[in-house]
């Protein structure tokens, strides 16, 4: 009975000590890592939702993000909507898109095995990328807002302020999701479905409705993420693709169904990456850190489980 809290304390303690060490050694890396990690978490949250509740690994995750960025870009170019404001219309547009995609495709593969779902989303991803390539070409687009590169200076450092929005939004979305899952009836149903879909169906939960809602909300959140990324990201057909893998890695690291873990994991990985990048000559290894940490976490967990 005592073992667990003690263990948690120890992990936390190690984490805190590590952070303090990094803060003294590479204070800027800590900030950069915190900012980037927030972005990883923000994008991984909806993937976790779809994977955890519907059980589908959406390989088109990053490509929906790409699409959202293009739409946001168009809103900015044609209607002069500020990218931060465009988060609102983007959320609703992608909520609707999520509904549509669910109705015409996802709905029909719910019963046909995770592999079919995987390849279906792979097909969707391919269609989005190719469409973007055909319509907008591979040439990147960027939009300019002056506040995106504003910064504050202290001592010798100049630190950007804009990217603090990433972790802020990640926390915001996390809180909103947790409220939704805890306080609303549909949210509670979703939690139940995530834990035991068959059981949930037996007690009369309309799983189809839950899946529909969860899928659309998740795609909608990608609209929010796209909005906040727009001012600082180049938009091209493959912009979002790498985030699919990173999000998947984060979810696996946090463990299915652990939304808080995604935030903590995202920020941890962001910091680890930033620290490696800041060491001259070793920047090329930063990817290895990401996947190295992931492997370490998954394997330790598997080992611990088999021990008990």
């Amino acid at each position: 009975m005592n073992a667990k809290p003690f263990h948690l304390n120890r992990t936390l303690l190690i984490l805190i000590i590590l952070l303090v060490v990094i803060a003294i050694w590479k204070p800027v890396a800590l900030i950069y890592g915190f900012q980037r990690g927030g972005l990883y978490a923000l994008i991984a949250l909806p993937l976790a939702l779809i994977l955890g509740i519907i059980g589908i690994l959406n390989l088109g995750h990053g490509d929906f993000l790409t699409l959202a960025m293009y739409i946001g870009y168009l809103l900015f170019e044609n209607l002069k909507i500020d990218p931060l404001l465009s988060m609102v219309p983007l959320f609703f547009i992608f909520l609707a898109l999520g509904m549509g995609i669910y109705m015409i495709t996802i709905k029909y593969v719910l019963k046909s095995g995770e592999l079919n779902q995987l390849i279906l989303t792979f097909g969707i991803s391919m269609v989005i990328i190719q469409m973007a390539e055909l319509i907008w070409t591979t040439r990147p687009r960027n939009l300019y807002v002056s506040y995106a590169s504003s910064s504050v200076s202290f001592l010798d450092f100049s630190v950007g302020t804009y990217e603090f929005l990433y972790p802020a939004l990640a926390i915001g979305v996390l809180i909103a999701l947790r409220l939704f899952l805890k306080k609303t009836k549909l949210g509670q149903a979703a939690t139940a479905v995530g834990q035991n879909p068959r059981g949930a169906e037996i007690v009369g939960i309309d799983t189809n409705r839950v899946y529909f809602t969860v899928f659309s909300i998740s795609i909608g959140i990608l609209g929010i993420a796209a909005g906040v990324m727009l001012p600082r990201t180049s938009i091209f057909p493959l912009t979002g693709s790498p985030y699919t893998l990173k999000s998947f890695a984060l979810v696996a690291m946090a463990g299915l169904g652990d939304l808080n873990g995604i935030l903590i994991g995202g920020i941890t990985l962001g910091i680890a990456e930033a620290v490696i990048q800041s060491i001259p000559g070793y920047g090329g290894w930063s990817d290895l850190v990401f996947f190295g940490v992931l492997l370490a976490v998954i394997l330790t967990r598997a080992y611990r489980r088999s021990e008990s």
Partner: protein, 409 residues
């Protein structure tokens, strides 16, 4: 006697008419999904149209058969096989992407047709082609030639504008493209230390560091910009892709890093880069700019013709390169007077353009390995008021260098 002469003449005319209908087939392999491949093949079609409108070559029209290599090595190789055996083309032209080209080279070697290539700057490709391949012509400068050219350029610029360039920092993307640049800079630095090579006068100190390009999922340059900032270079160069272009200046502004010369060396630039206030006075390595129309009639002709045909401006230098590719080949065939391979090779070796769509002359010279290399150096351009102005070569300059670089408030 008279009658048979008439008959011979008639037959000859008939024959030549029939023969004229038979086009000269050129197979092009390019990544059509990519902007570079799309625009270069469009420019090729433009050139073919112009040549055919003017009566073709040797009285025969040119026919361009385009295959998409999908940026996949195996698809590129299969495309060469298809063009050679199914379409039975007489010549090959194309394409970009060293990774794809390396897979195409064994297939090209199998058919040994006269080949004029515009992209693939990696010297690995040159090595794979080998010195024996006299049928291979390469127009784009090799990676090491580009590096050499920059050294010459900065030396001349330093002298012309009386500025000091000693400390060089290279930020390079960690893939093949960036690493290739880095290796060549290291070579030049090693030479410069001995007082040799084109960089001897402008590279007293050199530091390089890699980043992950936004096009491969990176896009955070702040660590590397901070490293550069503490080095305080006179010349800061980043070798990445078009997707890095805007974020890297935005983040440079954020960390308050203002090198005196801020240079980008991507193969292409993002749409509307010039309109971005952050772009002002950023310097770029490239081969072409619309402003060349002011100083080069050939560049002006190409630009106007392209805009007229497609209703939009070409965005990068692969368009004029593709255009030149076709004209170069056509000129060789014309000079050779036949499609005989050896005659065409001999003729192409002698082709000389005083002015091209790139605004500079073209003449074939040997490079390190291959015998037939076209352009040697890139140009140095600077974004000024939303336009790419040519700074170097000095005789082609369309504007004066704005120095030093700073961010507008």
């Amino acid at each position: 006697m008279k009658r048979s002469a008439v008959l011979v003449v008639c037959l000859a005319v008939l024959f030549s008419v029939v023969f004229a209908a038979e086009p000269i087939k050129i197979g092009a392999v390019s990544p059509l999904g990519d902007i570079t491949g799309k625009e270069s093949t469009r420019a090729m079609q433009l050139a073919v149209k112009e040549i055919n409108d003017a009566g073709g070559v040797l009285g025969r029209p040119l026919q361009l058969i385009i295959m998409d290599d999908e940026m996949k090595p195996a698809s590129g190789a299969a495309a060469i096989d298809k063009l050679a055996t199914v379409d039975k083309v007489d010549f090959f032209v194309g394409g970009m992407g060293s990774g794809v080209h390396l897979a195409e080279i064994p297939a090209l070697k199998k058919y040994q047709k006269v080949t004029v290539w515009i992209g693939a700057a990696d010297h690995n490709c040159e090595n794979a082609v080998g010195a024996d391949a006299d049928w291979y012509f390469h127009l784009h400068p090799w990676d090491y030639q580009q590096g050499e050219g920059y050294g010459i350029a900065w030396t001349e610029i330093a002298k012309a504008y009386n500025i000091k360039i000693e400390k060089v920092f290279l930020a390079y993307e960690e893939g093949a493209f960036g690493t290739g640049s880095y290796t060549s800079y290291v070579d030049f630095f090693n030479q410069a230390k001995k007082g040799q090579g084109s960089w001897a006068a402008v590279m007293k100190q050199f530091v390089g560091a890699s980043f992950k390009s936004a096009s491969l999922g990176g896009g955070d340059y702040r660590a590397i910009l901070n490293q550069a900032k503490s080095f305080n270079p006179d010349l800061f160069v980043w070798a990445g892709y078009d997707a890095d272009a805007v974020p890297i200046v935005a983040q440079a502004k954020e960390v308050n890093f203002t090198p005196k010369l801020f240079v980008g060396a991507p193969p292409g630039w993002p749409a509307n880069y010039g309109k971005n206030p952050l772009a002002e006075n950023v310097i770029l390595y490239g081969m072409w700019s619309p402003t060349l129309s002011d100083v080069s009639p050939a560049a002006k002709h190409f630009f106007d013709a392209y805009v007229k045909m497609y209703g939009e401006e070409p965005t990068g230098y692969f368009a004029p390169l593709g255009y030149i590719n076709i004209y170069f080949l056509a000129e060789g065939i014309k000079k050779a007077g036949s499609l005989d391979k050896n005659a065409v090779i001999k003729a192409l070796e002698k082709v000389e353009f005083k002015d091209t769509a790139l605004g500079e002359p073209l003449k074939i010279t040997p490079s390190k390995v291959v015998k037939h290399q076209g352009f040697k150096y890139q140009k140095i351009l600077q974004w000024q008021n939303g336009k790419q102005q040519v700074i170097w070569p000095l005789d082609l300059a369309t504007a004066k260098l704005v120095y030093p670089f700073s961010f507008k408030k």
